[in-house]
Symmetry: C2
Subunit: 391 residues, 2 copies
């Protein structure tokens, strides 16, 4: 069967096909950058109208006690099922970078006698920058290690290990169960950065005993550009979790305006300042699309899309033109990374032809496949356009 | 002349009267809580439609290079004139609490040999909470002092002093020039929290040589609930300003994805994570209302509104029923605080009658007067309603 027929057949069998209509995507564009910025749900623009006109304008300050103040926890509860987390462990506030800082300093304080913070050498850069700062402020040594070499690095000096579930450059998916067990065997805490895996596959944080996790909401969760990030703290660690950005939002009685900081009892202690309501409620609206969606279907479609795209880019451009960096087996997220010496110019030309992926220096083309709105026909069209650009 | 006629005359002379029509306020409501949450500009809902539909939906990831990435600085430049700041010194990102943390740790690092952080004893609580954390992480001693007693506390151990320009409970406005000079005479740095004074009177940070400042944008700047806050760092301090939330947003080459953190050359080093675009661009739109507005007019009207309200609440309720906590002279912001033993119940009843102020424990009624949309008739109506509730 030729690729066109294959794409049509795969799309015809897709149990998620009906969801594409919920997204506001420009006609004629093949959007393969949902791993960087998810597409808008149609409902979000309407939700923002209601929030601004009815809640902010109509109710003014009263809205703080009519649902706004609790939004960081309430939106966290909407994300919890995507993480495999029981209620009461996820809060949405601040950026991913800020939450990495909270998580790392908080984790170091859980292990006062341990002197090292370990970070995956292939980490998303901002995680490494923040880890450097957290190490400096807490007087810890920062070590970097390839995730495959962790056993050689972990030991009784290790306080916490910060890891990215999916490598943002290659698209490689790490084995959360095995790595978490390895970190725990050394008596250390793990902080998983889930930016590139939340909304991609069924996560099981509770079942694996993960300590802490952070992640953004603007990639596969479609929360909007720079939407607030989430922080997961396992329930039994919360009472001892002492995070350094102790703003009034995390206070046990925020409106008592008490002179001393007393952290909230539960996950709310992960909050800091006044929550950013417009973005939070836009995100809340975007998350409704996950109601009734089975993450197993999302994962199956993502593997199908990325597998089909790898097949197409192996077949269509002249052999040897691009190198596939992403694992061909199931150890991958929902992005495919290709190496090409002129990657930047190639991506510019693809975007000019309305096939939108992105470029990562020095030579990586990235294509993200968001199963809620990307089709196999999109994947084929992208591969054909790439072959045309390269040919 | 009776109060009704006085209010009408004052409103007829108001050079800012035309601005009220730009705000989306419910008919029949007297809104006196703009010092807590400013009212929405009508243009903001439309702006959010454009941002979501045209920029996010229409341009997708491309919008990051079509104005989004630079928004923290660009919106900062819109706020700069309200602060008396030349360009290149203000960035908008994160919450006020997070910016207090950046400013305090950064200020401590400017004075490595000094061992103390000083905070105004009457500070807005979150500032004190964050200062406690910053002191702990940097190994400094935290001292609190009444702002009038600063001379007894300042010395060569003082690294930095964190002060609120307006006391959030009493409405008292501090003398920024005198206090800044006092802090500088001790060789220390000052961080001003301008949450309750930005948009109230002409600020002159550059002229006074203020070191650092932070402030929120959702009170008198009407940016929206939890809108991102600003950070001011005086230009000549920027090169040495080493703030601890070193996320990729503050990197010199954020898109190079380099392994090591190198701070941006200018005020951008005050950024941390991915900027929250929906809220930032809503704020940007709200700030347009200040074009062509003279802050001297704003200040004059604010003093007139608060003065007239103080006169009304002195005259209308039975003598001795409420105590005015706010200074009667010009040492006040644009709020009036009244003490009453049943303040909470009184405010609940006022709000039920659509006169919206707020309550601060244990016994303070607060009424904010935002000169861009509040009238003297509103002030009189509020005072009459209060007298009625108390009578």
């Amino acid at each position: 069967m030729d690729l066109t027929a294959r794409a049509a057949e795969l799309d015809a069998e897709d149990p998620l096909a009906h969801l594409r209509a919920e997204f506001d995507l420009p006609p004629g564009t093949v959007y393969l950058d949902g791993n960087s910025l998810g597409a808008p749900l149609r409902r979000v623009a309407d939700q923002l109208q209601r929030v601004v006109r009815e809640q902010w304008g109509g109710r003014l300050i009263r809205s703080w006690s009519e649902g706004w103040w609790e939004a960081p926890r309430r939106v966290g509860e909407r994300i919890a099922p995507l993480l495999g987390a029981a209620p009461g462990q996820v809060v949405v506030a601040d950026s991913t970078s800020v939450n990495v800082f909270k998580a790392l300093v908080g984790a170091v304080r859980l292990a006062p006698g341990r002197s090292e913070i370990v970070v995956d050498a292939a980490t998303f850069p901002t995680d490494g920058y923040i880890a450097t700062s957290a190490a400096e402020l807490t007087g810890r040594v920062l070590r970097t290690a390839d995730i495959d070499d962790l056993p050689a690095v972990l030991g009784d000096r290790t306080a916490v290990v910060l890891l990215n579930h999916v490598d943002y450059r290659t698209g490689r998916l790490h084995d959360m169960a095995a790595v978490t067990a390895r970190v725990h065997a050394a008596g250390a805490r793990v902080v998983w950065d889930l930016c590139h895996s939340v909304g991609v596959l069924p996560l099981t944080l509770d079942a694996l005993g993960v300590d802490l996790a952070v992640g953004c909401t603007y990639k596969f969760l479609n929360g909007g550009p720079g939407a607030p990030a989430f922080l997961y703290v396992r329930r039994d660690l919360q009472e001892a979790f002492d995070q350094p950005l102790s703003g009034w939002g995390g206070h046990r009685e925020p409106f008592a305006m008490a002179p001393d900081y007393v952290p909230a009892e539960g996950i709310e202690r992960g909050r800091c300042g006044t929550p950013d309501i417009l973005s939070l409620l836009a995100l809340e609206s975007a998350l409704e699309v996950w109601d009734g969606v089975a993450l197993a279907d999302v994962r199956a479609k993502g593997l199908s899309l990325t597998g089909f795209f790898i097949e197409c880019v192996t077949e269509l451009p002249a052999p040897g033109t691009v190198e596939v960096l992403t694992p061909g087996d199931e150890r991958r997220g929902h992005q495919v990374s290709l190496r090409h010496p002129d990657a930047e110019a190639v991506m510019t030309e693809l975007i000019a032809r309305e096939v939108i992926g992105d470029f990562r220096a020095p030579d990586v083309l990235r294509f993200g496949f968001a199963p809620l709105y990307v089709t196999h026909a999109d994947a084929l069209h992208a591969a054909r356009t790439l072959a045309d650009v390269l040919g």
